[in-house]
Subunit: 428 residues, 2 copies
């Protein structure tokens, strides 16, 4: 008998039909002889509807109360799912994040887990029940106030429970059937990966693949939790994200002897580029800028500093960030104009990032050659470049992003013979 | 400085406008120098909408999960109200029933309070906040499962908190401005009562006046909590329900020296009458019937047993109950046919109850004469009669109920010179 954690997102439980479908799925897993813990998000648009209500009564909702409000969403879906599984003959008990022992810090809206004590979940399982847990939520260790985990919160709830309960696998269900070599909506010949390493999945998630949140992949890697990304609309095997090493893990499929070098191509349209023009080219200026941004939790991604010539001791400093933080960063820089001493600021949100992810990137010299050749042949200018052990990323014009993804997908031999099938509405 | 508990029902917080209006009201009370604890129900139709969802996924929702589901309703309204009061400059913290220390037994859907420990509410007040508490909900003492208090639950939450916090008054807000001598929709000349005793209010609530739930009045009487029933749409004084005795209570108005004998006329359309025809007229048969009903929590109201003649040792036993329990009672009686030994069962849901409530009913012999004379002159047959120290009730044809209410209201000199104004939608 295995212990399986299954996470279902809001699109899987958007209405009563969806909840019943998930209930049947959960019951199947239980009836196959497994213990099952389910983590569920709020139904469909519930969270947005609650946010709309908050905006109707206030311009600036207090963070504590916003968390109290939003956690009503998962409360509704988990209770309905528990009813629906009971209806198909499988007893279930639902638990809030607080009841499930998801203990967090006090950063409302983006709380971090500090402890996971799923005592009541374990009791429910021991009593023969399915345990259904509200994703995305927890409780502050000292104040006992309700918190939410922020973006990717439900995935993180699932992985954290899987780790704390020593589950055999954490299954992440959505409306696509796995991790693809590229977004199938852009590259119809994209192939599903049977397996991908934690490191590669980290790079894919960090660089625009939306199927798993970076935070959940980091958590799974740290606690050696095997992830299985699959579709709630089919029974096909999805993509296994393999923690390395994980001695006790026996995947349901044989590991292929020859793994392709390249795992896939991620892209991210939500990038912005800021250029600080004419800053003094002397030690400490760059660190002053990035310290300023870090203090306000602005996440800077790529950085490029132009080389200044001797007779012109001024330089330009460019960096990228998520465009949701663009206004914040620009305001911080404007306020610090005197302190930094620059000529002007330039803001460009028409940029995107494209990333090639795979094992052995740095040791295989042909990869970068093939990469830039493919982009050049597709007439795509490269603006900024960054690399890691398993990734090669560039910033380009966002309007050329799709062309770039397709060109690279073909150049690296990732195209399948047939086209991928994408279920549901929003794709990946 | 006073400590005031204010309870707002679902119709007062049916949308964002309503929530903002309640927030301003609460802030006024706070800014007048009082500590304020607010108890709030779910917004408008939220509870019904959640019940509809439950019925979409299952025919018979498990009681534990139904409570988990429904408690999302107050969670939403209390968080929004806390945001709205913050928006008008008054800091607020919301608390679930569990967080506010509403400890109950495990009777899901109709839980009873066993303990009230509002430690966090007190802390929030001491820190200068308004405390906003979800009505209707609690937590089971031992299992820690979430419970709901059933009908009248939010009023009971308010009174229980007022008692535990030793509040100066518990204000019950709705869309009518007090307790009337009769339902203003039936008797336009009905008068608002400035004050009514707990005993009289108990009889009014138990006999059909919907403005306060019986349970809340009982609780207030037991713990000497002064209730002030008033409208959220005006600042007029409402009706004070006076606990007797309550030494520390100083009402805002002088007590009138001459209190009218009659407080008001209550009516209840939701009655049904069951007649068990042809039961043996011997000791123990009636108790067997009522034991059977009590074991299944059927609340029997009035009982009449016909006198049997010597040559016919069979009698008929009639009783009234709320029509919502009619099917249950009939099924219980049908199943016990052999054990009881009756000839037939008769069910009549076209009956209503009308009650005259006032002090000194039994010591004033003219009251019952005037009562039955007024009904006779209006051509209304009386089916069953019951009395208490402060009440005289009869069962009549439901279709004559309004006529009866008007006739009695006039006969007892309760008609005002002008017509009552009823705000909002549903009246009392």
């Amino acid at each position: 008998m295995s212990l399986i954690v299954q996470k279902f997102g809001g699109s899987s439980v958007s209405d009563a039909d969806g909840i019943r479908r998930v209930a049947r799925r959960v019951a199947e897993t239980r009836n196959a002889g497994n213990d099952v813990v389910v983590v569920v998000s709020a139904m469909g648009d519930t969270t947005d509807d609650l946010l709309d209500l908050a905006n109707e009564v206030t311009r600036k909702p207090p963070a504590r109360e916003l968390d109290m409000l939003l956690t009503a969403g998962e409360r509704i879906s988990m209770a309905l799912l528990a009813m629906a599984t009971s209806e198909v003959g499988v007893p279930a008990q639902s638990f809030t994040g607080s009841q499930a022992g998801m203990i967090t810090d006090g950063d409302h809206g983006a709380a971090k887990l500090v402890e996971v004590n799923p005592l009541r979940v374990r009791e429910a399982l021991d009593a023969g029940n399915i345990a259904i847990i509200a994703g995305f939520q927890g409780v502050h260790r000292s104040t006992k106030d309700i918190t939410t985990l922020g973006r990717g919160g439900s995935d993180t709830t699932a992985v954290a429970l899987a780790a704390a309960l020593n589950a055999d696998v954490c299954e992440i269900y959505s409306d696509v059937d796995g991790v693809y070599t590229a977004d199938p909506r852009i590259v119809p010949s994209a192939q599903k990966l049977d397996r991908v390493s934690s490191e590669e999945m980290l790079e894919l998630a960090a660089n625009g693949a939306k199927i798993l949140h970076l935070r959940c992949v980091e958590y799974a890697r740290r606690f050696n939790v095997p992830l299985h990304v699959r579709s709630s609309f089919s029974h096909n095997e999805g993509t296994w994200v393999m923690p390395t090493p994980h001695e006790n893990f026996t995947p349901q499929k044989e590991i292929p002897l020859e793994q392709p070098l390249i795992s896939g191509i991620a892209h991210d349209r939500t990038q912005a580029k800021i250029t600080v023009v004419g800053v003094p080219d002397r030690p400490g200026i760059a660190s002053r800028i990035f310290r300023l941004l870090a203090d306000s939790k602005v996440n800077v991604d790529m950085i490029v500093q132009n080389v200044s010539t001797g007779d012109r001791p001024l330089t330009d400093l460019s960096f990228t960030l998520d465009e949701s933080q663009g206004d914040l960063a620009m305001n911080l820089l404007r306020a610090a104009e005197e302190k930094i001493g620059y000529t002007s600021l330039d803001y460009d949100d028409q940029v995107g990032k494209i990333s090639l992810v795979g094992a052995g990137m740095k040791t295989n010299t042909g990869v970068s050659f093939k990469f830039f050749q493919a982009l050049a042949q597709a007439d795509i200018n490269v603006d900024m470049i960054s690399t890691s052990e398993v990734r090669l990323s560039v910033i380009t014009d966002v309007r050329k992003l799709d062309t770039a993804v397709r060109a690279l997908h073909t150049a690296f031999g990732l195209d399948a013979d047939s086209e991928a099938t994408v279920h549901g509405g929003t794709g990946r």
